[in-house]
């Protein structure tokens, strides 16, 4: 790990001020950052520590909003009664992420800024193969090599990676807003637009850009509309715990009418659903959300709606299975959120 100079920030403003210098990086939990330093993914001259800023801590409901400070850890969020009650999919996503000891350090501010788990990207310098994220324009070794875990939406020839965050999927599904502080003052970014696919980044002329966060901006917290919808986060992975998702799905469902015959006999009033690990951003199935109201909460009724909403998937040669797996995860998340199983 290369040497760097270190300072503790006394206020969020002073941290944001230090970030105006592009050689400076912010550290909160550090669980992702220290591995970047080891691999050479980041090599800043200066690191500013925001870990001591009480103003960025805390979880509270204020009016109709759930407010979560950027320094709240994944374990704090996952086990907080206000979150389990009003944003259950987020609580579940947090507790299904990483391990108990990582979740004690990892913050929700840093979590959404984690980078892809692509093994070609996570090589130690000097880079043994091309990777456009590490060496812009060098190409994508995963596209030419192994790519069964990679994107089925929004990828380009430059990069086929996916964003691995679990909480980001729930935040996008729940219409959370990120509060950020930067050189131009505070502003808000909707979490469903926070991350960019490779295609979206190319379209704005910055093919390797991954988020809408501007240089020098700091996430200070999130605001979510308090929701009484039933919620679920389904994570499909190769082992039962402590593993990244192959695909995941977050859903929130409100049902119509009386509970005759239980949830199975009921129709959907509103539904929200987002997929994870299928693109470089959480993938809201907006076409499905438009088509689900009025549908019965059954597997048979949900499958064609989800399939139509995923019709624009473009799987790679080795990851066609992710289309079916993601469809099934979305269906299971909706059924679970609605209380059908």
């Amino acid at each position: 790990m290369r040497d760097f100079a270190y300072a503790r920030a006394g206020t969020a403003e002073s941290a944001a001020g230090a970030l105006a210098d592009p050689r400076t990086t912010v550290i909160a939990g550090g669980t992702e950052l220290l591995n970047w330093f080891r691999l050479g993914i980041a090599a800043p001259d200066r690191v500013v520590d925001i870990g001591g800023l009480d103003e960025l801590r805390g979880i509270a409901v204020d009016g109709g909003e759930l407010r979560i400070g950027a320094l709240a850890t994944l374990n704090e969020i996952g086990e907080h009664p206000l979150v389990t009650r009003t944003a259950g999919a987020l609580a579940s996503a947090c507790l299904q992420a990483a391990s108990a000891q990582l979740r004690n350090r990892a913050t929700i501010g840093g979590n959404v800024l984690q980078r892809t788990r692509c093994p070609y990207f996570r090589a130690e310098e000097p880079m043994p193969w091309p990777c456009s994220k590490r060496d812009p324009g060098s190409g994508c070794s995963s596209l030419a090599g192994r790519h069964e875990r990679q994107a089925i939406f929004g990828w380009t020839q430059d990069c086929v990676a996916v964003q691995p965050s679990d909480p980001a999927v729930a935040l996008a599904m729940l219409d959370a807003q990120a509060d950020v502080l930067g050189p131009a003052g505070p502003r808000t970014i909707p979490m469903r637009e926070f991350h960019l696919t490779q295609r979206e980044a190319a379209d704005v002329g910055q093919p390797m850009r991954e988020t809408r966060l501007e240089p020098g901006e700091l996430i200070t917290g999130y605001r979510l509309p308090v929701s009484a919808d039933g919620q679920a986060y389904v994570k499909v992975r190769e082992r039962a715990s402590y593993e990244y998702a192959i695909v995941s799905a977050a859903a929130a469902v409100r049902l119509d009418g009386a509970r005759a015959g239980g949830a199975r006999g009921q129709r959907i009033a509103t539904a929200r659903v987002a997929l994870g690990s299928v693109a470089q951003r959480p993938w809201r199935l907006t076409a499905a959300e438009a088509g689900l109201p009025g549908a019965p909460l059954t597997r048979e009724a949900l499958i064609p709606v989800i399939e139509r909403a995923m019709a624009d998937a473009v799987p790679l040669p080795q990851n066609g299975f992710k289309v079916l797996m993601a469809r099934n995860a979305a269906v299971r998340a909706l059924l679970t959120a609605g209380g059908a199983r």
Partner: protein, 168 residues
């Protein structure tokens, strides 16, 4: 307000019940500091990237990966390693008392090679304190951050439940 960046940071913290002040390069991880500067080699350097859990220690009572924690992030905090588990006058002395979790691991043969054991012990102490050692499934989920390549998981699970008083 301009921040004062430094390449040599003075850090005051408590280690296994003892207050001390240390001067480190900011890039020094808690794990490297414990092992190389302090000489406490209980916490192991398995993967050095947060994947194996052998470096698990307690910071203010919460379990964390020592390899993903900088010493500078521990300023003002209390760090407990496996060496501090039985108390400063416990392990290694005739008649010394093991911590109940250590005793449960011994009683249940909850190791083979022993490399992961310091991390397993620290994680288990926290797992029990958190209230997550309630049944087999909960222990397996909340201990999943500690890998045991000898695969002593059934014995580890039994030991954690026994130490938690849930082995009825």
């Amino acid at each position: 307000m301009t921040l004062d960046f430094t390449h040599r940071a003075e850090v005051a913290l408590r280690l296994n019940g003892r207050d001390l002040t240390t001067v480190v390069s900011p890039r020094t991880t808690l794990l490297d500091w414990l092992r190389d500067d302090i000489g406490l080699t209980g916490a192991k350097k398995g993967c050095n990237e947060g994947a194996c859990g052998t470096c698990t220690v307690l910071v203010d009572g919460r379990r964390m990966n020592g390899c993903l924690t900088l010493v500078v992030q521990c300023a003002g905090r209390s760090v407990t390693t496996v060496e501090g588990l039985a108390g400063m006058r416990g392990v290694g002395e005739v008649g010394g008392q093991l911590h109940p979790v250590q005793q449960a691991f011994a009683d249940h043969d909850a190791f083979q090679c022993g490399y992961c054991t310091p991390g397993q012990l620290m994680s288990a102490v926290a797992c029990i304190a958190e209230g997550h050692a309630t049944d087999d499934a909960s222990v397996r989920e909340w201990m999943s951050g500690n890998i045991c390549r000898c695969s002593s998981y059934p014995q580890i699970t039994a030991a954690v439940l026994a130490a938690a008083g849930e082995d009825r």
